[in-house]
Symmetry: C2
Subunit: 337 residues, 2 copies
């Protein structure tokens, strides 16, 4: 039993499987929404026990559990269902690595809906959201993002803070802070770090909650508003620009990075965790595939390192470098004032 469609050379099945691949997303989201994985982890293994506990029909539960078995998120032993290592680690709500909330954001109408009229989007080269959704001030989707995607961002935030937090007193600006985890990781690793989170005012509520949970609220302050409009202040040792540049065209990014450059202290650095495809644009796979998601936005893209380096250079930075975040799929641009 494989956990993904196994194409064979010249098999018509691969066309059929790919046209049905959307069912994988739909089934996993249903399993998460019904709290199926936690229910099984709590000791419910028979169809009847699971169905009763998740308040679903036995037939629907059977079809869902069998499907999730085939795509690798459950194991079936006789008539009993068990979690796999993946679902135990990431889909049991009691697990510290629980990632189920991601489904709320990644499959929301605001995100998945961007690709609904894919053929038109490809014709035009970008999406035309009905209400310019993603970029509207204080759009609630970014609160959803901050809440839903935070668990996924723990690992890269930790990796980046380990690389750059140091032990000297620093002043850090976290642009499009979202959940705030990137800046907060610096504050946790370096007791001399003072962090300023910038985002829409409603999103900053989530960042402040997370700063309080991490015990760093006294060193966490905020600037509400659009990164393109508000004053950043000055003298920052580090400016984080996490997952922000992929929403805009290069000219817009250069304008923003010019502001970042001006806000940095003389030895300051900017750090941008991003999906960064190689120059071939078909590897690494998760970074390169992200360009499809961004095509649904009006002007976004997953930029190569060469493209990002040029934007930072045009904004005044003297040199840049790329760092890996392995095993996390994203990579970093680190750019020096």
């Amino acid at each position: 039993m494989s956990s993904s469609p196994q194409p064979q050379a010249s098999s018509p099945g691969v066309v059929f499987d790919t046209l049905q691949a959307y069912q994988r997303s739909v089934a996993l989201k249903a399993g998460i929404d019904l709290n199926l994985f936690t229910t099984i982890a709590e000791g419910n293994h028979s169809l009847r026990a699971i169905a009763t506990r998740i308040q679903a029909s036995e037939k629907g539960t059977r079809v869902l559990c069998d499907y999730l078995t085939m795509i690798g998120f459950l194991a079936k032993h006789g008539a009993e269902y068990m979690l796999t290592p993946d679902s135990a680690a990431f889909l049991d709500r009691r697990s510290p690595g629980y990632l189920g909330t991601m489904a709320n954001f990644l499959m929301s109408p605001n995100v998945a809906g961007l690709l609904e009229d894919m053929t038109d989007v490809i014709r035009r080269g970008g999406g035309v959201p009905k209400d310019n959704a993603a970029l509207a001030p204080e759009h609630p989707m970014w609160v959803e993002f901050a809440r839903s995607m935070a668990p996924m961002m723990q690992m890269p935030a930790e990796l980046i803070a380990k690389m750059f937090a140091g032990s000297k007193p620093i002043k850090l600006l976290d642009i499009s802070a979202g959940h705030g985890l990137y800046g907060i990781a610096f504050a946790r690793h370096n007791p001399g770090a003072k962090v300023v989170g910038l985002d829409w005012v409603n999103v900053l509520e989530v960042a402040k909650e997370n700063a309080a949970k991490a015990g760093v609220a006294d060193r966490y302050s905020t600037i509400p508003g659009s990164a393109f409009d508000v004053e950043f202040g000055a003298g920052y040792n580090i400016a984080l620009v996490p997952n922000f540049l992929h929403h805009f065209d290069p000219t817009t990014n250069e304008k923003l990075l010019g502001k970042v450059h001006a806000a940095l202290a003389p030895e300051g650095i900017a750090i941008a965790p991003e999906f960064i495809p190689n120059d071939d644009r078909v590897s690494p796979e998760r970074d390169a595939m992200f360009s499809m998601q961004m095509l649904g936005t009006p002007a976004g893209d997953a930029y190569t390192y060469a493209e990002l380096e040029k934007m930072f250079g045009n904004a005044g930075f003297v040199r840049s470098e790329m760092r890996e975040l392995s095993p996390f799929p994203q990579r970093l641009v680190v750019s020096y004032k």
Copy 2:
């Protein structure tokens, strides 16, 4: 570069990949709708040439081609895109094996839309189509089915006719004929075969077209209407019931099979090509996964052989057997009067 998401043990990436898997379906359908594969097969390999020919933006074309490269339907050499063996065989409109039309049916609102409210569907154990779509008389989706899915059905129709057509004069009833290919294959293989196709009157137009194309129109007649209501006639040597039983509950199927039994000659057989999961219901994968698609219907399912055997038995058939259609994913129930 792999052509499917490669999960690793306990990698959070597998959750992310599965929640994004719907993009594979969307991207392949867009490539088919834009005639991308035929365009490349005709000798357009650079982004500019392809984009111009499919009348799309270069950016959108780039993102789509790179994505299709990553999921195995294109190959990228430097800046040029080529077809893979799969796309050359099944996605170039000029290929005799072209299957691109499948996207029209499999991703139509009438089919993919069934799984839209998946969590509710699982709770209830079945879908509640707003207008009882699939089962409404003369619903246009079955005309779409007959036109779109025919290419996929050439192979199994051929395999079944080779097994059972023989050379003696026979009278054959094809219930839910659709495209008509199953019955037509018998007529092609056996000049003494007379075929009666039964389906909605609008769907039978497609079957009649296909019978004419195959040069067997003089031995092809039709019965328009619902298989549950119309008279079948009597004395058939063979009754085909292709991909029909999975729409209904067992009791309804037994009623239908009782009518089939009565219409057969004393030595007659019924043949039902179906998605038939093993008793474990998680293999073979394509047969077993079909239960997810059918869960979206009010009462359908992918039945195991044991379940189908029981339905045929209760309808009066003396014995049944299962036959493989390898390499095609479906299997056959053959049942003897």
